[in-house]
Subunit: 368 residues, 4 copies
């Protein structure tokens, strides 16, 4: 029996590395705990939450009722091998010295260290208090920056909407199907790209508020960021592409699905696309190529990857409009946040990449 | 008390015109019955259904349990003033002579008579058995073709996804913000338009099947028509525009939301857009302009119009990408089908336009 | 065109009686506005909201964007014929003198005046500041107290969960199938009644908070009031029955469904039950009897009455366990609050009972 | 990269025992595959499906796209160590000889071998073709019948609704809080028990049909089995109790929640209840006791156990009505079907009980 607030600690199996989660009462923080508890190479020794200091982790994350870990104050950081920071944007840059003093490896899930330059950061966010670290931090979308991760000490895990969009477009960039016409730095070329992302309510965080209350949020198709979403900058920095980016909130809790409409300068065939996508992801353990075929699930869908670290990517060709439609789907809490962070830590610290990330997802599943 | 299968007929108030609904057990057919029962100018005298012949209308449409109307065989059409056909595509063209013999005014909700020419029809559908009627039928998106409707005898009510997309883009066309560069008949100009429509499960009809079963369909973001959706043809015929069109199924039952990404050849300002949208819809009784402002509902949303004949339209300007993002939302069963048909019939037959279509919708509402 | 914040007032058709809504930014307040705007006998002249003073009604209730009515401060009450108070519990008893000074008829939607005695109120709530009015107020569940309503000046509209439960059980009480064994005032007789109510998230109000945030509230089956729900008192006062009452929150926004398990002292047949239910509701305009039959909707369901003032009631006999299972379903915001209040006002003020309450609901409808 | 229909078989790590799944295209069958693929002690060598013979398992169960296993015809059974049958009721009894010839251990997930006697089976189902096996089969609700499982060759895994109800009531029976008054074999004693179960749409199976189509099934509270649900027999056989049982379909896909209202003959205190529940489940690895406490999740909820083999149980005392309200929640596909089957197989075959069943579930999660 696992009794609420009084269970035995099933997680205290001696891990080889110690880990802490800062901001552990949020959705990404809870997912980090879940993944780390199931990871044979990590032992979680601290989970901080200002608001729930002293309460059991399972009171907030009911799936974690089997642990007796309790939240502690973020002011008292314990020394660990790796520290995961799942705090709101702006917090990590203020506390980064304390984080790095506490841990040899810091994985930050916020946007603080994702953009490459101070200028880029200031264009999309407010001023940056530690701009000198922007160059040092390794942006972690492992499918793109795997080579830079081993031994990295400051890792900036990619944002959810940027991750799902970049994974869809990456094969087109790597294969040269798009990009050349754009290198002039103008957004008005014939290679215009439009991306429409649909996201679940977990992207709004664990807080609440009228817009995210169940009666108002249920079953919506709501323009959430019609223009100027900050992940536009992240994608452009990652892929070297300009794109027109819009985000809608739709009726699910977990999940992000990106549909990108691409108009290549030169004609492409389905065979070209298969080659591009296979070439990009042949050896990727967490990317599934789903493009047509039979059954109900013919293209990428968030439902098919809910709770997992997998991304699904696929495409369709629209000869009439000389268009390539690219689909990508992830779980924003896992692959778009905590899973990506653990994946990056696995590479940085020398674990097998997939360790602790093997969950395959469920079928059927309701609104994910 | 209204007892199932044994109520008094609360709908038998003497209407001035008689009406029938062919294909009345489907979703659009049921919505037609609901609207006509509440319409002071119509008396429903027949509702046909091959599958449910003899059963009470309320057995299939539980909201209509207050009537004692029963489904009858479509083979025995009664003479009426107006006949609404809510049958699957292809049925109306086969039975159009019988429909017109039975009724002076026929409003068809299928795609059979929406496209202007046989060539257009054959490009997107199969062969047409009555092409000579394509020129005679009046396409009914009343905001666009109001002038042609009075006295029309064969009316083709616009399709749901075409309606929501066309209503969003119409102000840009009428004001000349887009279109000129496209008149060359090429889709590759700089005025490329991308439309991403999100739809509810009622678009799949009342049938069932594995893909639309609740466990598989709940909470999806599913590419439903990645390319080559037939409403692309309808929109292009209506607006004289080329556009790249993609439809996703999302987690709701009723509703269609169209987001169009437009890149005008010449720069536009917010003031230009306000002028265009106000100019297009100033006198329209069923179009609401929603663009920004406070509160939770800042842009068009299907939830805000669920169950109503209203469309919401709005826009946002993206100067960085020289893009206009246009939003439009309707209830696909009402404004996108039955409500539009009744609206057109009102105009055709000389009723006040809004008669029987006054329902304002609900707040809050779950998944619409 | 109806432009947000700048429309013409489509609601200013000269009503014969003036009305105001106090607490108009909440869900019940918004529903009152919707119903009153469509009611030919009322003209809404004031809608108060402390929080949204000065904002347009349509900013909060997007379905009401067609009006230019704005919220005003509740401190400045206008004189009207009828005042509807949709304020939280405890507010009406504090302001009841001001309400009655402003209006000849006051309809209160809170619990303040529902219980018959101070002792009953204090057992379930806190102290009552105006207990002398408890005897004067008319409890309005029109199917039960219709005779007392004409001319009533202080009306307490029944609570949502009490309404749905009482409507289900009323036929058993009126016919004597249950109740006699209970008149001794003990809950331990053989006629024990268990009621399990399932409710939507709108019962939690428009506020928000972590428990009602979309990620936490979606798709739950959550014991919401396992025991000691205050509506238990209201039902017992209304029906003179003891019952064991439990409320669960389930995955919808609007709706309340009550399943009561009744073990009559004497054996009953299906014919007895049909007679009891028909006898109770034969002349009721807003009650539908749904018990078996074909199709998908064989018993009462909230979906079938969403947005309407209708209640569905039905039953099933369980001979093996000598049990009668009674089902009832309403829309908690309409029949369980605003619709019931308008229904009561119609009777109190001499309108046709069903005026303004004719909406039949939708099919299909998502989560209601 | 994992390519649909062309991936490498990540599941072919050498298991020590071979396993097959009969009826593998259904929901329980797919869940069995998921659990067995992640189980270090089993290697899946066959998954049968008449309808999808030759298709890849991942076409039906998108979460399993990483395997290259294909469905085969059930007529050609391979010899295995353990065979799991997830076929509709009535199939196993017809094929049980073939199943037992193919495998030393057969775990049947249907109702065919759950009831103890032919008389009981015939009262609730149709005739039984192999009644002599009813006594031999071990009913597997491991928390109740653990001792009989080691070495069992024919195991009947408990039904979902019976499992969740029995787990809630078991502590009351074991502790003697209920049951004594019922031993007379009558259902009319003062210890009457009422159980109301709420279930998700996956209980309807993978088929489809109008009642389970998304538009009709979304957001319902639908009396699904008002009376005479067959699991009533299973619970009574398991616990030796009579109870009045009703099942509602509610707005989720996975999950079953049982609320039982119990009126013990003798007064009980909260301390008695804590002692009873702790006593029953102290050593159970898959039962969590959740009764009150802080946070959002204070009682058992299906959301908190979605995708897992855990059950949550809890209670509340209602002194006013001398009632104990017992709550229990499981995932019907996992703990209520496939997880329970694997759990039983683990015990039967000597594996550590929790092997392959360690998934902790997600937070947040949408409709589960």
């Amino acid at each position: 029996m696992i009794e609420t607030d009084a269970g035995t600690d099933s997680d205290s199996t001696a891990g080889t590395l110690t880990a802490s989660v800062i901001g552990a009462s949020g959705f990404a923080g809870g997912e980090l705990l879940r993944l780390l508890f199931g990871h044979p190479g990590f032992e979680v020794v601290q989970a901080t939450s200002r608001e729930y200091d002293g309460r059991s982790v399972g009171m907030i994350h009911p799936n974690l009722r089997g642990t007796d870990l309790r939240f502690t104050e973020p002011a008292d950081l314990e020394g660990v091998d790796v520290l995961f920071a799942a705090t709101p944007h702006g917090v990590s840059m203020e506390h980064v010295d304390a984080f790095r003093e506490a841990a040899g490896t810091v994985v930050d899930l916020s946007a603080d260290f994702r953009l490459p330059t101070e200028a880029a950061y200031e264009e999309w966010y407010d001023g940056h208090s530690r701009p000198e670290l922007l160059g040092e931090a390794v942006y972690a979308l492992p499918e793109i920056s795997r080579a830079e991760l081993p031994g990295a000490e400051l890792i900036a895990a990619g944002g959810c909407n940027a991750t799902v969009t970049s994974l869809g477009l990456l094969p087109l960039v790597e294969s040269g199907i798009v990009g050349d016409e754009q290198e002039e730095g103008t957004a008005t070329g014939t290679e215009r790209i439009v991306t429409d992302v649909k996201v679940g309510s977990s992207e709004g965080g664990a807080g609440g508020g009228r817009a995210s209350s169940h009666p108002e949020r249920s079953g919506v198709v709501r323009p959430y960021a019609p223009t100027s979403h900050r992940h536009e900058a992240e994608i452009e920095a990652t892929l070297g592409l300009r794109l027109s980016f819009t985000v809608h909130a739709v009726g699910m809790v977990r999940g992000a699905a990106a549909t990108s409409h691409v108009f290549p300068a030169a004609a492409v065939s389905k065979a070209d696309l298969w080659e591009a996508f296979r070439g990009a992801y042949e050896d990727e353990p967490f990317v599934r190529l789903v493009a047509g075929g039979g059954g109900v699930y013919r293209y990428p869908e968030p439902k098919a990857v809910a709770g997992t670290n997998y991304a699904e990517v696929g495409f369709e060709l629209d000869p009439r409009n000389e268009r390539v439609v690219v689909f990508a789907a992830i779980d924003n809490v896992t692959k778009g946040a905590a899973g990506q962070a653990v994946h990056a830590a696995n590479i940085a610290l020398g674990f097998e990449e997939t360790t602790g990330l093997e969950f395959q997802g469920l079928h059927p599943v309701g609104a994910p």
